[in-house]
């Protein structure tokens, strides 16, 4: 990631990683209660350099290099939040978020409910997630279902630089705990971001969005699969088929109104994610769409997902991950009924 050269303002072309970095920087500037904590987030700037330069500018008491203990990071973040801070925790990789599972699902998620609203925990847990980086095991997990399944947590994931910049700030401003999933294979994808735009004017955090209009079938994804969706739509267009794309952006709460509206027009739905099929987010989307759009559907909802195996060794991941061909194959299937 390029070193920052003076303050960045105006509209810039940024990678998703840099947009996150600048979003975190702005959050640290805007609110002295915001803290960043995690393994290697300080001097190193994080293994993906998302926190690059922030400890240098905000100090060791705002950007904490923590001991190597994920439960410790989340557990102490809960205590800090009870004290009035707004901690932003980094889990270095998706597979490393599991040692913190009790603190996230039993403690962080439930405190507001069990205290009957007396304790709010504005904690953000950033997790680089998903595959496609050719790494060793436990570095390419898609844990979203665990967190979506846990009432009390909110789960969001950006797929563009502009969403990365604003959604991280919105998540930090949220008074609920937010699991912030960063599509690590897309950190270097670029987009235009107006850095001076007010956060309050951005697309709300918990809204899904139609990102490309189409007429023949609806394809839904989020985070890392959105690029696959865009490539699929381009290829389909060459074959004369028009796909409408929806970026979910928020996985908890789900915002499916744009999906229902789209499916009622197209009659066909394909849901794409890297997480395994069984009980994955697509299962929930499919169940709700068949309930809401029963008379509009021309075909069963199709799922294009990771397989129900542990994440494979990286030489096999191209077969595991949804790609353009599998998406188009699924779209074709919706036309065979």
């Amino acid at each position: 990631m390029a070193k920052q050269q003076g303050p960045l303002t105006g509209t810039q072309t940024l990678t998703i990683g840099k947009a996150l970095n600048l979003g975190l920087r702005r959050a640290l500037e805007d609110d002295p209660k915001v803290l960043l904590m995690g393994e290697d987030v300080g001097r190193l700037g994080g293994v993906f350099r998302i926190t690059d330069g922030l400890q240098k500018d905000f100090g060791e008491d705002r950007v904490l290099d923590s001991p190597l203990a994920e439960a410790g990071i989340v557990g102490t973040a809960i205590g800090l939040a009870m004290r009035g801070y707004r901690p932003v925790c980094e889990m270095q990789f998706d597979g490393f978020s599991y040692p913190a599972f009790d603190q996230v699902t039993n403690q962080l998620a439930k405190m507001h409910y069990r205290s009957r609203g007396r304790i709010t925990l504005p904690v953000v847990i950033r997790i680089p997630f998903g595959g496609g980086i050719g790494s060793v095991e436990h570095h390419s997990e898609s844990p979203e279902t665990y967190y979506m399944h846990t009432a009390g947590l909110k789960v969001v994931t950006p797929s563009t630089a502009v969403d990365a910049y604003f959604m991280i700030q919105q998540a930090i401003r949220s008074n609920d705990p937010v699991i912030f999933l960063e599509p690590k294979a897309r950190y270097y994808e670029k987009g235009e971001v107006d850095l001076d735009a007010p956060v309050t004017a951005a697309e709300p955090l918990h809204r899904s969005r139609v990102v490309r209009a189409g007429t023949d079938a609806t394809v839904v994804g989020y985070g890392p699969t959105m690029r696959v969706l865009r490539d699929s739509a381009d290829a389909a267009a060459e074959d004369g088929r028009s796909l409408e794309l929806v970026d979910l952006r928020t996985l908890s709460p789900l915002d499916l109104d744009p999906v229902y509206e789209s499916v009622k027009r197209t009659g066909r739905l394909v849901v794409v994610h890297e997480a395994p099929t069984n009980l994955g987010p697509a299962a929930e989307v499919a169940a709700r769409v068949q309930s809401e759009c029963f008379y509009s559907l021309e075909a069963p909802v199709q799922r294009v997902t990771g397989f129900d195996t542990p994440y494979p060794a990286s030489k096999l991941e191209e077969h595991f991950l949804p790609d353009l061909d599998r998406v188009l194959d699924a779209v074709d299937r919706t036309f065979s009924y």
């Binding site: 557990g75 205590g79 004290r83 040692p99 507001h112 709010t120």
Partner: protein, 400 residues
């Protein structure tokens, strides 16, 4: 209780040494302890099981007679409330109860050592600590009846809700203490500290280890108060550790001390010392209060399956209330009228508890959906709307 420190200040050099502060076995306290049982460990003691006041070179208390009476009153009342709660469970008014019987001195001593600005993180047996924090003694009973998950305001009393996953709250206390540091609220008598309660079983949990790591490296103003009551349900402390729990502190770089957990004066002195060290910026302390759970783990437990009557009987000889009463009587601080008035107070407060618990109405079903989130909650809103409509469809069948 007065807010004046009852112990002498800790020299800074000693505080940073990481050396344990308990006494060698040759001290009067150690000898006194060893008289009771050959197995009894060395620990800080100021009041023997026989009710004799003994001195300790590092820890002392300087209570007025009135304060000593107050401590006795606390001990008696929390035990009476506890016995009544067990009875209420047996009579079907509570789903379950976790008794503190035997641990009154550890809880009252440490609880009264807290200053108003300190924050306590209990596990689920610290009814005595809540009492010291001014939480209404009926407040935990909604949890044990099944009405709620604890219905007191943690911020109002500086006492967090109970935590049932063993050891998880140690990290919360450390994070809170890190926040005290970042707020600059250390370094004077007005400084703040947090204290976290856990047991010998919890000492095996990874969260407790991580809490000690974080507390050590961030020099957090936190006191780890381990009530070693000898059993984690059925498992004796030997199943948790081969070394005394307090000695683990050395590995994290802060002091550890073992105190007679059935001695309210020693528990107060040791806890006050550690809390004041923390608030003055001298970092964490691990206290192991060596005590005994006289009752079952909870009302669902049957301790006769894993421990002997003679063991329980030997601990009865070390009862925290009996020794305090003996001491007060011998020292002329408490007479029969005083003891009778305390019992009358306990009866009155316990009567109010009984009335409250029996009269506690079932929660409104709409509470199911409340406070899942602080902000927008569309899924729960939709489910609540459906549920209310569904409930109302039972018109004429006693719908509520």
């Amino acid at each position: 209780m007065g807010d004046k420190p009852a112990t002498k200040g800790r020299p800074a050099t000693k505080a940073r040494s990481g050396a344990r502060r308990s006494r060698p076995a040759s001290t009067p306290a150690g000898e006194a302890a060893l008289q009771g049982s050959a197995q009894e460990p060395e620990f800080v003691q100021l009041l023997t099981p026989e009710g004799e006041r003994v001195e300790h070179p590092d820890y002392s208390v300087d209570f007025t007679d009135e304060q000593l009476q107050g401590l006795y009153r606390d001990l008696v009342i929390v035990r009476r409330l506890d016995l009544e709660s067990t009875a209420l469970q047996r009579q079907g008014h509570l789903a379950i109860w976790a008794s503190l019987e035997g641990q009154e001195a550890a809880q009252i001593g440490s609880g009264r050592a807290l200053r108003k600005q300190d924050m306590a993180f209990p596990t689920y047996r610290e009814h005595g600590v809540l009492w010291c924090r001014g939480v209404d003694p009926t407040a935990p009973h909604g949890l044990f009846r099944g009405n709620d998950h604890g219905d007191w305001d943690p911020a109002e009393h500086n006492a967090n809700l109970y935590t049932l996953v063993i050891g998880a709250q140690t990290l919360h206390a450390v994070g809170y203490a890190m926040g005290i540091n970042y707020d600059g609220k250390v370094g004077s008598d007005d400084g703040e500290a947090s204290i976290v309660y856990f047991g010998d079983g919890a000492s095996s949990q990874g969260d407790v280890h991580e809490a000690c790591v974080f507390a050590g490296v961030y020099h957090a103003p936190v006191v780890f108060f381990c009530q070693n009551n000898q059993y984690a349900i059925s498992e004796p402390v030997e199943r948790q550790t081969r070394t005394p729990i307090y000695q683990r502190a050395a590995g994290y770089g802060f002091p550890g001390v073992r105190v007679d957990g059935n001695d309210v004066l020693a528990c107060y002195a040791v806890a006050r010392h550690a809390l004041d060290a923390a608030r003055h910026g001298q970092g964490p302390t691990l206290i192991e209060a060596y005590t005994y759970r006289m009752g079952a783990h909870t009302t669902t437990d049957d301790p006769t399956r894993y421990r002997t009557g003679s063991e329980v009987e030997s601990w009865k000889q070390r009862d925290p209330i009996t020794r305090m009463r003996t001491y007060l009587a011998k020292a002329g601080i408490g007479d029969d009228d005083f003891f009778a008035s305390v019992d009358a107070d306990a009866d009155r407060i316990t009567g109010r508890l009984r009335e409250f618990v029996i009269g506690l109405p079932d929660p409104d079903p709409s509470r199911l959906f409340e406070h899942v989130y602080a902000e927008e909650s569309p899924l729960q809103d939709a489910e609540r709307a459906w549920f209310e409509q569904y409930q109302s469809s039972f018109v004429g069948e006693g719908a509520h």
